[in-house]
Symmetry: C2
């Protein structure tokens, strides 16, 4: 019994080592895999057979096998069967995507909808419908969706699957994952954290070094990526940039504080009631003075909050995403000016401010990507799961 358990644990560990090597280093022959992992060729061949059976790997063409240079049959991650579901509830939209194991985005759906006007129950029913239709499409493509993560605009208690408080939605302790009732394991995570991971896996990624990704929405959140992994803080609540103080005596914020960054640079501070982002961008392009002044103020406030963030977190790069991506030409200048003024003398280098390469879908993509990371880190658990 003990022997069998040990054997299973060892096999699961070795599956993860082989799948991880294929993920990081692309197509490899079995011989190159053996060399890269330190496992015997016999063991590698058995594990690769298991991964091919499970639809997680596939033989494709030939490559040189490293040391000897003889061409061999290449094995790579397969995207044809295993996939992950990414979902997002934000203040003014819902999103769902399916990404396969090779990190190809197979399906992506978004709905513009004012979730503040609806009850949590109604929002969850709507998201369930969106997710169910996306899962049906995925099944039609022959994909087996192993799990999902929901991105939520507020601090999340990952142990319970609850969002503790989403002040911009007016939600408190809503049990999102359970209420969705989807036929697969579903977790929840803060949307700003997931958007940062979306940028890491589907945007500029490793070129950014350690980066702070800013998600501008109705609320403003941020996610810090250090050495390719998310910095979460002790309770998963790190990166709440929207409630960093710009001016302590400033306007009251829905969080209970005052003068928070959100009140100067959140979507509600920039858009007149009823105006769409595209209309604001059109006004900015036309040189509308009010619009330019509002973006200038937002950029300066962003620079103040980011200078506090850089003093505390010391990233290489700042990535502006969400609404700050379309507004980048107008907010990044004042933000950078403020950063240089406040940080230039103390630091050898002030972090560069760059625009997100992913855009509005970053959090949903990051959610699906995180499910894939879990599968790649423990493919044994996936192979043993009842739905497989």
């Amino acid at each position: 019994m003990t022997h069998a358990v040990r054997h299973d644990a060892m096999r699961a560990g070795n599956l993860a080592v082989v799948l991880g090597a294929l993920d990081r280093r692309g197509p490899l022959t079995r011989a190159a895999l053996a060399e890269a992992t330190g496992l015997s060729k016999t063991t590698v061949s058995k594990l690769v057979a298991d991964l091919i059976d499970a639809g997680m790997a596939v033989e494709s063409g030939t490559v040189g096998d490293g040391e000897r240079g003889r061409p061999g049959v290449a094995v790579r991650l397969s995207g044809h069967r295993v996939a992950a579901l990414g979902l997002e509830i934000n203040v003014d939209y819902l999103a769902a995507c399916v990404v396969d194991l090779s990190r190809t985005v197979r399906l992506l759906r978004a709905q513009a909808v004012d979730n503040r006007a609806a009850s949590p129950e109604d929002v969850i029913v709507r998201l369930r419908a969106l997710a169910t239709s996306v899962l049906a499409e995925a099944a039609g493509l022959g994909l087996s969706v192993a799990g999902g993560i929901v991105a939520l605009p507020g601090p999340v208690d990952r142990s319970t699957g609850n969002v503790h408080r989403a002040p911009n939605l007016g939600w408190r302790d809503v049990a999102v994952a359970g209420a969705l009732g989807l036929p697969l394991p579903v977790l929840v995570e803060n949307e700003a954290n997931l958007a940062a991971l979306g940028e890491l896996w589907f945007g500029s990624g490793a070129a950014l070094g350690d980066f702070l990704h800013v998600s501008g929405e109705i609320g403003i959140g941020a996610g810090l990526v250090v050495d390719g992994a998310l910095f979460r803080g002790a309770h998963g609540y790190a990166g709440e940039l929207g409630h960093v103080v710009v001016a302590p005596d400033g306007p009251e914020c829905r969080c209970g504080g005052s003068g928070c960054l959100e009140r100067y640079a959140g979507q509600d501070a920039l858009l007149p009631p009823g105006e769409e982002m595209s209309a604001l961008v059109a006004r900015l392009r036309a040189g509308d003075r009010d619009a330019l002044a509002a973006c200038g103020r937002a950029g300066t406030a962003l620079g103040v909050a980011l200078s506090s963030a850089v003093n505390l977190l010391d990233p290489d790069t700042i990535v502006l995403g969400g609404i700050f991506a379309p507004l980048f030409p107008w907010v990044s200048g004042p933000a950078e000016e403020t950063l240089h003024q406040r940080l230039g003398q103390m630091r050898a280098r002030v972090p560069a401010v760059v625009v997100s390469q992913v855009g509005a879908d970053a959090a949903a993509l990051g959610a699906a990507g995180q499910v894939l990371q879990r599968i790649i880190a423990d493919p044994g658990a996936y192979l043993l799961a009842p739905h497989h």
Copy 2:
């Protein structure tokens, strides 16, 4: 040749495994060490003999050897030979300490001196004299001091041993480690980072969870400890709490910004020119209105900056050290009130604010402790060092 190198590397790795087990788990028999490390008893016995020869371990009494319960000879870390030097240059004092491998503080010397009035060269000459006298005393105690670290009040470039800029000292790119010219390897590190490590190893430690340690001096720095290790940021500049924005239009700061926390809660903002900290504490105890008002303002400003820090970093606990330790009864109340007001609605729990258990020597102790960590992580390098 390759074989010999591999053998040395393996031995060095195994020495670190055995020494690490003794460090974390206290006195152990050779049999218990073998069980804890997975090494054979023969290998453990050889490694323990090497560590005893090097004065890094010692036999002391008997303990049960774990599974079998038979009493055996216990081996533990020895403090009788190997030690580390901790140094600190701050704005108004110098400090030096020697801590032995068992983390007992053997020597601790501080000098109150206004380093702003002196040139960097003069300050380094003074610190060299202090360090030399402490090293002579350590030699008299039979201690072999393996290395040292200098704590500096500003962002440090660890690759060069330079302090990039210490605005409160008026220093720029001073090559401290090289200029000291001590007969042992010396590195530099930011004092706020080291003070946090001092609290971890010589203060409340693991009971704090993930914590932000605030060093109040002329400047204000902070160090974040996550999972028992320092969070440094991409360039080692994380934790610059003193330049987090309290009010962007506030008084100008020596960093080039304005309204930074230091201008409201640093020592210069609290003490009238020429007054000592003890005189301020006496006035506070006597109920002096001006002193109470100044500490109230400082505590509130600290609460504003810390609320931004908690939003970004999400620690379990905030530790107030440096000048905030003697001022704790007067600054912690307003700071906590501000934290609860700004964070209470968004978080299930607002971090507790506690007083440092180490005090003014935290950075020098943390410096010595960090040298010890390096030795414990790689005792082979120490054993092979020419001075040994």
